[in-house]
Symmetry: C2
């Protein structure tokens, strides 16, 4: 397809068949508009990797065609990749006031703030990129200032929901633009792109106000200090904690860098209303009677270096959790974090704290719509075509079933994968081609420099360690001119394994001396023989497979 | 305390403040009776470690005093450490017929079967070790043939519950000896030692029969092949699957080594009743119409090498999951396994299978009593003293609250830790002393040979890899006589980091040449300087901290 033929396409560079690193794009003719640029956190198999971001090589090759990066909201899985994106292509970034605050924080860390064009938008903004005009509608979620996006193109309207739930009594001024959505649907939607996170959960998401009620009740019951941990970005929940402090006459201290940063942005930009004099510094906590203090902190996911983990082991300088203090986990564990969370709960019990944790306590609601929310969005939008996004395969699959249950025609839902391109021409959608995509690993400062071999080596090193064998050999006579040197790390403790290492030394000498003829002149042959014989011996003796690294020094 | 003073003690070598590696002991005078010897699986921070078992050094030092190892049931966290125990001390092992079957399998693998004295016991057995007599009572759990133990001593009775729930309609002949328990309680229990796994969960555990009903319903609905995965050791659940096959007229194939092994033991010893001709071999699956086949397999916890994981990726030779097949997860994920499980669920969806997974589907019930079960045990036993075991701290703590709620006197519950010794003299319990204890890591064949240094090295290697620097130096002139050799593994991909490695080489030469005076004659000084300057340079350039290993070859 030529670049300048005016056809409409949609694809994802991340966010399909996975939770995380959301990045989507709309192409019309020679223009590309990018939606979100998130990261994902690696699981433990990706040893040493800090972050995963989408492979953006397609965008890089077409960077002159990119008109905008539009960001739906400020969660890491939607903004965490932006610095890496902007390092490769300088594109204006469009986002709401609160979202921009979080993006600016990130760009500042990466020294990108000065050279980036940031454009503030809101629910009423309209952007125009020649044939494409872009409008927005507000959605409720677990962070302020979230938008859904409407792209009006010559082919028809494409709607991207962003992350959403329908909360009819949200905390803060965060009502969904439900009438606007209905109007968009009435006008006709060609393609709906909707998030699928909770497509497995029946019913409707509970309202955020429920959390507020439970928090207040717990604050009222608490006879001493209350420590509450939640996601820093959930400013509505933070507001409800502030309100509970106000009603129960407590001062509030904030602990944890991201809590301080995000609350700062929220207050400065008018998303959080804290009564004058309520906030206290960390070192004032001990100066007040415990029943007049609350602490809001990071670490609800069990992160080992966050405030709550350090509080739970008595390692937070100047702040102590004492018997009869109340500790509230106002966030459910994200899958994979359960063990870290229960470890902290356990530590808090040993300190004698009253701990409110686990589901069923009403201290957390999801920000992502359940099945009935998803069906309501589909019903309002009445799309001709539907692409479920933002979910693992089973969620996308179940979301398709939901779509069909409310009238999307069978065959009109596309379960595409990252890189698959949905082309729309004359109002007919087809998926036949794809663009290159994948994971880019951020490992240290450079993005994309850690490959499969490096990761495979790390895995072997992590489980069985290594054994370096230095062979000093005469160039002419091809024989060892001194004892082989063996050095182990991460394998066995050398002092306790003297016998084994002596045997290995004997075996090395034997192996080298037995190499005959031409092979004697092939250093690689010698290395390979040593690696093999030593490896076999060690495996037989210990069942371990350390990395064996023979080094030959010619003298 | 002299070894021969007749006093009664209880302690744990594992199982307190943790889930796993259960090992408890009763001491009376010069006699020790050990209860259970389990293992625990390491979390991902213990790189390369295969298993964790209790530190048994106290028992080893007192091995002549140990009269018996009594095993309550056959789960890994109660029998997994037995081979390592028996390698260090030859003690007769007492267990029920089914439990012995599983222990024998293990001893056979470790070549210990011939030299171990195995004694079969049942609910009616009585053992006598001079002043101590030992009786048993049957408990319901998620594996057949489980026992609680009553130790009758001159001080009074100690009761150890084993793992239990009260299931009034259990599958199989696994009714609890509830009348016997009541009688024991009526006679008077000095000390109750009871498991705490589900002390956080209100209510009573649902009955295993509920699973049977749901399995049968799913089998009836299934139009094609059914694949069900559960714990191999849950023979009652296996029996219910067999029954569902019988009713719905399906043949049954078993996949996975442990499923084959355990079913074999269960059938041979009369714990599982499979109709003649129902079992088929794996290669017969494709010969039958799919609606006449069921498959029972391992891998319900998402284990990457187990049968279900391989089936889900199409990597099980000869067996395929096809669209409209039904796959049932008849086991809840153990905390920490959630991600691996959902990965498999996702893969199964892509194959087009109907997947029944997640809580609320009635396909799993716990084998451990909830709060009401625990209170019933406490009520039946009416102990003077109480020690909650088998749980993390919060569970033990909550179990104490349950005990007090049914009448155990405040101050009579001991929340002890592994190694703490509870001494009972003249019917008064005190806890003032302890014995050495801790974790022993099984890493390869040897137990206990992996220390903190090795694990720390593995962690560094796993995240940042390593850089070996070989310096060939003249002994006399103390200078480099050739270019330094640098070899990286798990750090960066050398081909893509030529510049960095060139810089490192230059830096090494500069560092070595700048070492002056006396230090020139200290190889360690040279190594340290190289390590430091190279480390700083690399961190500045990459934010990575590879292990730097300078090696000096004197020539």
């Amino acid at each position: 397809m030529s670049k300048h033929e005016a056809s409409l396409s949609f694809f994802a560079l991340g966010g399909l068949h996975e939770i995380g690193k959301n990045m989507y794009a709309i192409e019309y003719g020679d223009k590309i508009i990018v939606i979100d640029c998130g990261n994902k956190f690696p699981d433990e198999s990706l040893l040493g990797v800090d972050l995963i971001i989408p492979d953006m090589s397609y965008l890089q090759e077409n960077k002159d065609r990119i008109k905008a990066l539009i960001v739906t909201h400020g969660h890491e899985d939607h903004i965490g990749g932006i610095p890496y994106f902007l390092k490769k292509m300088n594109v204006p970034v469009y986002a709401t006031r609160f979202t921009l605050g979080l993006i600016e924080l990130k760009l500042d860390e990466h020294k990108l703030l000065r050279d980036t064009e940031l454009v503030e938008i809101n629910r009423d903004s309209e952007l125009n990129f020649d044939e494409i005009s872009v409008n927005f509608f507000k959605v409720s979620h677990s962070i302020p200032d979230c938008l859904g996006i409407v792209f009006t193109t010559p082919e028809g309207k494409i709607v991207h929901t962003g992350d959403f739930k329908f909360d009819l009594t949200p905390a803060g001024n965060e009502h969904s633009d439900i009438h606007k959505m209905a109007e968009i649907g009435r006008e006709g939607v060609l393609l709906l792109i909707s998030e699928s996170t909770n497509a497995e959960r029946p019913g409707l998401t509970p309202t955020e106000q429920m959390v507020g009620d439970h928090v207040l009740e717990a604050f009222r019951k608490a006879k001493r200090k209350v420590i509450l941990s939640t996601f820093a970005s959930n400013i509505h929940r933070v507001q409800q904690v502030v309100d509970a402090c106000h009603i129960t006459n407590r001062k509030l201290a904030l602990l944890g860098r991201s809590m301080l940063n995000v609350v700062d942005i929220a207050m400065e930009r008018g998303y959080l209303n804290v009564p004058e004099g309520m906030l206290i510094e960390q070192d004032q906590i001990n100066e007040l009677p415990p029943e007049q203090v609350a602490v809001l902190c990071t670490g609800s996911q069990g992160e080992p270096n966050a405030a709550l983990a350090r509080l739970s082991t008595g390692n937070f300088r100047g702040v102590e959790i004492l018997p009869e203090d109340t500790v509230i986990f106002a966030a459910g564990p994200i899958p994979g974090n359960e063990r870290n969370v229960t470890k902290i709960v356990d530590n808090l019990f040993t300190l004698g704290a009253k701990v409110i944790y686990g589901s069923g306590k009403g201290m957390h609601v999801s920000g992502h719509g359940y099945q009935e929310d998803l069906k309501l969005m589909l019903t309002l939008m009445r799309p001709t075509y539907f692409v479920p996004i933002h979910g693992e395969y089973r969620m996308l699959h179940l979301h398709r079933e939901l779509a069909e249950s409310v009238g999307v025609e069978e065959g009109n839902t596309f379960l595409i994968n990252n890189g698959d391109v949905l082309d729309i021409k004359n109002k007919v959608a087809t998926q036949t081609r794809n663009i290159p995509t994948g994971n880019t690993y951020v490992d240290g400062v450079a993005a994309g420099d850690v490959g499969e071999i490096v990761l495979r080596d790390r895995k072997q090193l992590s489980e069985d360690g290594m054994l370096v064998i230095v062979l000093t050999m005469s160039k002419r006579e091809r024989r060892l001119i001194s004892e082989p040197d063996t050095i182990t790390r991460g394998f066995v403790y050398a002092k306790e394994s003297e016998e084994l290492l002596k045997d290995v030394n004997r075996l090395i000498k034997k192996t080298v001396s037995e190499i005959k003829g031409e092979n004697k002149y092939q250093w690689n042959e010698i290395k390979q023989n040593v690696r093999k014989s030593v490896g076999q011996h060690i495996f037989k003796q210990t069942r371990k497979k350390p990395m064996i690294l023979p080094i030959i020094i010619e003298v």
